[in-house]
């Protein structure tokens, strides 16, 4: 049969597991040269005239210029939200609020491809994830909470429910649009108005969402979106007319916000870092557990607060499992995030890349063995290969600190007790994963693991009906489900 060659350069032997590029088109996305702040239903300039650039982290090329909100701008936004709360939103029946949320959800679905491409351009995540995870889930959060808007009194009967008023919300760069949906949908469903700040490296999808919010005729000022970095965020946190704060991001910043909120007795919910144990017992469905571990740590380049970053594998299968895992990692395709076959995209920012690199080096200095696959990385942009550190001890920095990158640390255990002890021995407690075919062991572990979300024989599964949130330094308050509503209602009896 041989190697007949064709005019397009292919040969019969070409189909290995190398795929020709399959690049998603960017023609749907119209990125503006400059974006204003979304205040009181309009895009406006900053009073200070300051702005900053947002980049495509896979090429380091600038995408657009975004306005930096000063404390005066934040003040305008908060006042607009306050006026709008009194004038429209507080008085509006729940069924009418629901109509707006349903409309936002439908617009997100209709423009899903456009949002997905923009999310990938601005944040560096693979298009298959923004297309198959971020967008469907963001729309689902609006749909789900739209359903609650006129049923709150049934969720919390016999209680005198009341919205807080103006909510200040600050979200991270790992799931820019999805985190905006997690924050906005329950706040609006419960009758609050909002000032939201997206992260400074990934503001574009939130600004496109602002266009959607304008297009669905949401009353002006119900949602205000202000862009900027730490100073803009602290202007929201410190503003005297904000009635409640909700923050998702690093534990470090979360602690600062907590300090400030406590002084004023301000309601607060925090969703912070994690260092999740992913526990593999010897009787597990090992091929699927491998996929779970891959998904747990390499999904979204490991920029996931609930990432399964600490692999705890039973000693009797450790060699087999790690060998299989390394072979599987060799198959991961790192590169152009717009390629539909890309598994791992770009690191979100230079600062994050440096932090990952620094922590891995610290791990190696402390005696960990490092495994990286043979894949090549693009020359420009911010990249880090999927990495496994073995021989890691509980006292190593890489076993204790959140890396927030595609880096897995591996430890072993002998008994369920030992797995549990190691799993819980962390200041964090956001999530955990268990793989075993023995149902009673799943229950035994789940009862004792101190983590807000526990996945059994799966990982990184999200649903708007299921509450999400942490123990210990991973924060407090829940997002999603009926429990998530309590964060945005007074007198509901839950945490708010």
């Amino acid at each position: 049969m041989g190697n007949s060659n064709f005019k397009d350069g292919s040969s019969l032997e070409d189909f290995g597991i190398e795929y020709a590029p399959a690049i998603e088109s960017t023609s749907l996305v119209n990125i503006k040269d400059k974006y204003g702040l979304f205040i009181d239903g309009n895009f406006v300039d900053s009073s200070s005239g300051k702005s900053f650039k947002t980049l495509d982290p896979s090429t380091e090329k600038p995408l657009s210029v975004v306005t930096e909100a000063s404390s005066d701008d934040v003040d305008r936004a908060v006042r607009s939200a306050g006026v709008s709360y009194e004038k429209y939103w507080k008085k509006m029946p729940g069924a009418d609020r629901a109509r707006y949320l349903f409309r936002i959800a439908r617009h997100l679905q209709e423009r899903a491809r456009e949002f997905a491409v923009l999310e990938t351009l601005d944040g560096g995540k693979p298009i298959k994830e923004s297309r198959d995870v971020d967008l469907p889930l963001a729309a689902a959060h609006f749909f789900y909470h739209a359903g609650w808007a006129d049923k709150l009194e049934y969720a919390f009967p016999q209680r005198k429910l009341e919205p807080h008023g103006v909510i200040g919300q600050i979200i991270p760069w790992n799931f820019p649009l999805l985190m905006a949906a997690w924050k906005l949908a329950p706040a609006l469903a419960c009758g609050n108005t909002v000032v939201l700040k997206p992260a400074e490296t990934t503001p574009l999808t939130a600004l496109l969402l602002a266009e959607v919010i304008r297009d669905v005729d949401l009353p002006p000022g119900v949602v205000n979106i202000v862009t900027g970095a730490g100073e803009t965020g602290s202007a929201i946190v410190e503003h005297p007319e904000v009635d409640k704060l909700a923050f998702t991001g690093s534990t470090e910043v979360g602690k600062l916000i907590h300090r400030s909120a406590v002084k004023r007795n301000l309601p607060l919910t925090l969703e912070l870092g994690g260092k999740a144990p992913h526990i593999i017992f010897e009787d597990a469905a090992l091929d699927q557990a491998i996929e779970g571990v891959i998904n747990g740590i390499f999904f979204n380049q490991g920029h996931v607060c609930c990432a399964g970053s600490r692999l705890l594998v039973q000693e009797s299968i450790a060699d087999y499992f790690i060998d299989r895992l390394q072979k599987r990692i060799e198959l991961l395709r790192v590169g152009n995030p717009l390629d539909k076959n890309t598994d791992i995209g770009a690191i979100n920012s230079l600062a994050q890349l440096e932090r990952i690199d620094q922590l891995v080096k610290a791990g190696i200095d402390e005696g960990a063995e490092v495994f990286k696959p043979s894949c090549s990385l693009p020359e420009n942009g911010y990249w880090y290969p999927p990495t496994v550190l073995t021989g890691v001890q509980q006292s190593h920095r890489v076993a204790r600190e959140e890396i927030f990158g595609p880096v897995l640390v591996v430890q072993t255990f002998r008994t369920p007790e030992e797995a549990l002890e190691k799993a819980n021995n962390t200041p964090y407690g956001l999530s955990a994963g268990i793989w075993t075919e023995k149902g009673s062991l799943i229950h035994w572990m789940a009862e004792r693991l101190r983590a807000g979300v526990i996945w059994a024989n799966t990982f990184n599964k999200f649903d708007p009906t299921s509450p999400f949130g942490g123990y210990k330094e991973s924060g407090f308050g829940r997002e999603g489900g009926m429990q998530g509503l309590t964060a945005y209602l007074k007198n509901s009896g839950g945490h708010s």
Binding site: M1, S10, I17, A20, A22, A284, L286, Q288, L331
Partner: protein, 307 residues
């Protein structure tokens, strides 16, 4: 019953059968099916799909003429384009073997025959091995038999195992494909167990289905078998092939299978020696897709031959 140096106790019991999680297995298969195959990869995949194809007719109404027509198609799938390779084999009933041998003479198309009380396998092992030996004697290069699901599901794994050993003996030099009939096994765990059992008993290939029941090949089922093949190769150094059959009708389905095999077992398995697709109507869809790549437009079913 013929004896073999392999015993059930030594093989099956020494090979660890790893449990399978249904939800995550199906999620992985679905994720592999999102691989986007374009341009050069698409052409290579379509050619490979043809080279790995067992062009099949297994009807009670099969005639020598029908088989001759099938063999012609197998040798030269696209009469107008000599660049299109021939398929791996034709797959037929034992009664038709000598017609197929005649019609494929001088080509590299192999003759595969089902045998051994296909598709149920429910006659005596003596009758089944005689059926196999007869097909081999008529000139079959490859024999497709069925696993004794009755014995396997009743818990008599040893009998199912020893029958495959006996069938392998009856094959002589012919290659043995063992059909697990995955749609009757009831769970992925059973598919994985049956895969290990057939491989340990000496199968050269494990095959999904007879094509005679509605539940046939699927991506997760083949993924499950591929994972068993991979572990078996690692533990024993014996590389066993996989044949997906039943319900595979479109070019897109075919390249999904190639992706699953390639990403689970590696490129070594992406060849007719290690992977087959059993199908009857798939070939024409692949030809239409190839024509489309060449001409830029989609021609239609009257531009490929109906055989």
């Amino acid at each position: 019953m013929p004896t073999s140096t392999i015993t059930f106790r030594e093989t099956v019991s020494s090979i660890k059968v790893i449990p399978v999680d249904e939800v995550s297995l199906e999620a992985r298969a679905a994720s592999l099916a999102t691989r986007s195959i374009k341009t050069t990869s698409k052409r290579a995949a379509l050619h490979l799909a043809i080279r790995c194809m067992d062009l099949t007719t297994l009807e009670g109404a099969d005639t020598p003429e029908k088989v001759a027509s099938l063999c012609q198609k197998a040798k030269r799938p696209d009469p107008s384009n000599h660049g299109v390779p021939s398929v791996a084999a034709v797959c037929i009933y034992p009664e038709m073997v000598h017609h197929a041998v005649e019609a494929t003479e001088g080509s590299n198309v192999k003759v595969a025959s089902v045998a051994g009380a296909f598709p149920s396998g429910l006659s005596t092992i003596e009758a089944r091995t005689a059926d196999i030996a007869d097909a081999v004697k008529r000139g079959a290069d490859e024999i497709d038999i069925v696993l004794n699901r009755s014995a396997f599901l009743a818990g008599d794994e040893q009998r199912a195992f020893e029958e495959i050993v006996a069938s392998k003996d009856a094959c002589g030099k012919a290659h043995l494909k063992v059909i697990l009939e995955v749609g009757e096994l009831g769970s992925y765990d059973k598919i994985r167990q049956a895969s290990v059992l057939a491989m340990a008993a000496g199968a050269d290939f494990i095959k999904t289905s007879t094509g005679k029941i509605p539940q046939a090949s699927s991506l997760p089922r083949v993924l499950c078998m591929a994972e068993a093949v991979r572990d078996f190769a690692q533990q024993t150094n014996i590389s066993v092939g996989i044949k997906a059959a039943g319900g595979i009708r479109t070019a897109k389905q075919a390249w999904h299978y190639l992706v699953v095999i390639g990403e689970t077992l590696g490129t070594e398995w992406l060849s007719p020696e290690m992977f087959r697709i059993g199908a009857s109507s798939l070939l024409n869809d692949v030809l239409l897709q190839l024509n489309r790549l060449d001409s830029g437009s989609y021609s239609g079913p009257d531009y490929v031959t109906v055989d």
